[in-house]
Amino acid sequence: MDAQTGYLENVDGSCLYSLNSTKVISAVTGPVEPKARQELPTQLALEINIRPASGVPTTREVNIQDKVRAIITPILASYKYPRQLCQITLQLLQSGETEPYFHALELIACVNSTTYALVDSGIALKGIALGTTVVISKDNQLITEPTDEILKNSKSMHVVAYMIENNKPSNLLLMDSYGDFDENDILKILEQSEIKVNQLNKTFREYMKEKINNI
């Protein structure tokens, strides 16, 4: 995993994020003046745009956008910015997975990079959102951060994102699973992903600490 904040100059917050062969640039602009139809009288409006690595955005990107929104909305201190807009644009550079079949790796890259970019932008947050992909292979092994090849031959795949408040995972923000699995698998996945998210959180904190020290 590699993250580099402040990658773009003309936005409030940005991040170049890569994990295995998935690579994405996220840009956060806000709080800014919204268009009339986006404006919410009491809270911050959120606009998310995802651009695929190749071609034009399709229903697949709209679906990822919808999930990123479900994760990001609860972490924003949205009542602090009434009648304002936060614009998040995610440009994928490499999808790292077979696009017609999967979107799990891109979704997680989008979520994690957005978190870095949001912190970089200085928008008030209630917590941060970090997530991971876990697959169950045919021999019932749990594999976190899989590659495309592992995804293709997995029995089931799971995207899990947690909200982190006070340095520990507090709330399950998203779990999105496809494939063949039972309830024990779900519990195992939640357990495993919480451990992984804790690690990601540690990396995140170290990165931010170093960044602040260098200012």
């Binding site: 229903t59 697949r60 709209v62 679906n63 956008q65 919808d66 479900a70 909305t73 609860p74 077979t98 079949y101 979107h103 090849e149 293709k152 031959n153 089931s156 795949m157 909200m163 507090s170 709330n171 399950l172 923000l173 998203l174 779990m175 999105d176 699973s177 496809y178 494939g179 063949d180 699995f181 039972d182 309830e183 779900i186 519990l187």
Partner: protein, 400 residues
């Protein structure tokens, strides 16, 4: 201050009819209902809406007049399978249509080229997912206005596509076209031979074209009278419709089996084009082979924190009997099954959607936890309910 206290100010409580309050303050309305132990729709917390499922009603098999003998087109006129599902006040109509495409990756022409065979083997060997197929769903939620499709329609369609693909219900093999051959006998009588029996297989394999085709299925899902989230209804309707799908049998006229044409392209290269007139049999059809143990049905749940302030028992202070209940309610989160209605949809930020097989396996599971904290207990309860719901719906579909 003292002056103000002494003067009598009459405050007239403003009251609204239930349905108007529900629109002005959906949150309060929902909380008031919940504090009484039921939901705005007067259902219980874990009560689902009734489902009525009817399959195959809209399917019209192709007529036998000559003009109708044509390849299935995706123009929506030829419905291979259908389902009308009614859940509460919502109607979901699914029509499955189909088309035939040439299977480029697996065509025998390509097999002859050595390099490609290797490539084929590599992909075949290593990826499971390529063995399975999906249908192409288009969800249309009718709201009485025209315009471009909404985000909800797009995400629902995409989710249906992904779930179906990863549920492994439909294999590539089930969609493979096994064309028969139409033979004109000496006495001008025409009959079609399908590769069903060994003897027929011999004849057809002699005349068999080198190319391979597969069916492509499209699902048009129309939602009428939307009152809440529609994904689970669309999935159930699609599942029921798929089980009613009958694929038309196809054949090639014997004269066309070995037809080759030389087409001069723009440059100097002459390309040999093969054309096959793949025709659909108006009378013969086969059932679409689904993987039975992968048939699953969806249900949705919401989790919401009960607001003790909105508790009616709290407001009526004279009501001492209910007073001890308040403390219990303070941190209570409840699970509501089958989210429906404007108030529930807008106020409930934490949702669980489960697609379960009647045998207890899951095919799709999604949790969105924007609002109330989703605990292990809530997850487990929703899992239990989803299994029951799945068996119920599967019985209903089987009855049809």
């Amino acid at each position: 201050m003292a002056d103000i206290k002494e003067s009598t100010v009459e405050v007239h409580p403003v009251s609204f009819p239930t349905d108007i309050l529900a629109r002005i303050s959906p949150d309060l309305s929902l909380q008031r209902h919940l504090s009484l132990g039921f939901r705005p729709s007067s259902r219980g917390f874990e009560e689902f809406r009734d489902v009525i499922i009817n399959t195959g009603d809209l399917t019209h098999n192709t007529q036998s007049d000559d003009s109708a003998v044509k390849t299935p087109s995706n123009d929506g006129k030829q419905v291979l399978g259908s389902c009308v599902l009614k859940q509460g006040d919502v109607f979901v109509i699914t029509q499955i249509t189909g088309g035939i495409i040439e299977d480029i990756t697996l065509s025998t022409n390509d097999m002859e080229m050595e390099e490609d065979t290797e490539l084929l083997e590599i992909t075949e060997e290593h990826s499971d997912i390529t063995k399975y197929s999906s249908v192409y769903p288009v969800v249309e939620i009718n709201r009485g206005r025209m315009g471009a499709c909404t985000d909800e329609e797009m995400t629902t369609s995409q989710r249906l596509y992904d779930s179906l693909l990863h549920s492994h219900i439909l294999t590539q093999n089930a969609l493979r076209v096994e064309p028969g051959v139409r033979i004109t006998n000496e006495d001008d009588s025409v009959n079609i031979i399908y590769p069903d029996s060994e003897k027929n297989k011999e004849i057809t394999s002699l005349l068999k074209p080198k190319k391979k085709w597969s069916y492509v299925l499209y699902a048009k899902i129309e939602v009428f009278g939307r009152t809440g989230p529609v994904y689970d209804m669309c999935w159930n309707s699609l599942m029921a419709a798929l089980q009613s799908v009958k694929l038309p049998r196809t054949f090639i006229d014997e004269r066309a089996t070995d037809l080759k044409m030389t087409v001069r392209a723009r440059g100097r290269n002459a390309v040999v084009m093969e054309t096959y007139n793949l025709l659909c049999d108006p009378n013969e059809s086969t059932n679409l082979q689904l993987r039975e143990n992968c048939i699953s049905y969806a249900s949705s749940y919401g989790a919401i924190n009960l607001d003790p302030e909105a508790d009616i028992a709290n407001l009526e202070e004279t009501d001492d009997v209910d007073a001890p209940m308040d403390e219990e309610l303070e941190t209570k989160t409840v699970l509501l099954a089958d989210i429906d209605g404007e108030a529930e949809e807008t106020c409930i930020k934490s949702t669980i959607s489960i697609t379960a097989c009647p045998n207890g396996r899951f095919k799709q599971f999604s949790v969105v936890g924007g609002g109330a904290k989703i605990t292990k207990e809530l997850l487990m309860r929703s899992i239990t309910l989803s299994k029951q719901r799945s068996s119920d719906i599967s019985l209903k579909v089987q009855k049809v």
